[in-house]
Symmetry: C2
Subunit: 147 residues, 2 copies
C-alpha cells in the first residue's frame, strides 16, 4: 500500500502538473496541453460526442484561436486522491474570456482528471468535464450555476 510519504509526494507532483496544464490552457499552448495527455487518453468533454480520444494539437490550436487573448481557468475545491502510480482529481472550474465574435463565455463546470504515472511522469489518461442539466422537462444545460 502507498505510504503517507508516498501519497504526499504524489499529491505534490500532481498539483504541479495541474498548475502547468492550466497555464498551458490559459495561454492556449496546444502542443503543451497535448504533452500532458497519455496516448490512450479518453475525453468526456463539455461538447458532443459522448466520448472522444486525445485531440491532435492542430485541432486544439484551431479551437484555442477562436478566443481573443487568454482563456480564464480558475479552479476551486481541488481534491487529489493519489496512490503510487494511479490518481484522480476533482474540482470546479470557471472558464471565461472573450471569443473572436465578441461573445463572453463565463461558465462553472465540474472537472475530473484521471492520472497514470508513465515512465516517472504523471500523465492525464482521462478527462471528464460537465455541467448538470435541469430535470424540469426543458433539458437545459445548467450553465448558470455558481459554486
Amino acid at each position: 500500500m502507498t505510504t503517507e510519504t508516498g501519497r504526499a509526494a504524489a499529491e505534490t507532483q500532481i498539483r504541479k502538473v495541474i498548475d502547468d496544464w492550466l497555464n498551458a490552457l490559459r495561454t492556449k499552448d496546444a502542443d503543451r496541453v497535448v504533452s500532458f495527455q497519455a496516448a490512450d487518453h479518453t475525453h468526456f468533454s463539455l461538447a458532443p460526442p459522448l466520448m472522444s480520444q486525445r485531440p491532435d494539437a492542430k485541432s486544439l490550436q484551431a479551437w484555442f484561436d477562436t478566443w481573443k487573448g487568454p482563456i480564464g481557468h480558475e479552479i476551486r475545491d481541488l481534491k487529489i486522491v493519489a496512490g503510487e502510480d494511479t490518481a484522480f482529481t476533482t474540482s470546479l472550474v470557471r472558464m471565461s474570456g472573450t471569443k473572436n465574435d465578441g461573445e463572453k463565455p463565463d461558465l462553472w463546470f465540474r472537472g475530473t482528471l484521471g492520472f497514470r504515472k508513465v515512465a516517472g511522469a504523471w500523465k492525464i489518461v482521462h478527462e471528464h468535464e460537465s455541467v448538470p442539466f435541469y430535470m424540469d422537462g426543458s433539458f437545459k444545460a445548467a450553465v448558470d450555476l455558481k459554486p
Copy 2:
C-alpha cells in the same frame, strides 16, 4: 510501483464491485448503493447542484421509488485504471425504465468513478455522471446521443 499481478487483481476486484453496485442500482436497494460509497464521497450528478455529498439512503430510496419496477443500467466501454489502493473507471451508461407518471426515460450518459481501497475494500469516493450539451446557442443537454 504496482506489479502486473497486483494490477490484474485490483481490476478483477473493481469489476466485481461495479457489478454489485449496478445490481443495487437496478434493484433500487438504496442501503446497498450507499454501502459502496466512502464517507468523504463527492458526486457530480446528472442533476444540479454542481457538486453534492454522499446521499442518505432515505433520500435515495425516495428517488428510486419514483420509478416503477427496476431501473435499467446497461454499461459499455468499461475502462479500469487501477493501482494498489487507488483506481478510477470510465464507461458509458444507458439508464432506462418507467417512472410512476408513465414517462419512459432512456438516456446514455458518461460515468466516471473514483475508488480508494479502505480497510481492504474498494470504496467509491467520487462519481461523475453527465451528458454533453449542444454548443449551438440552445444550451440543450444532449440527452439523445447514442454510442
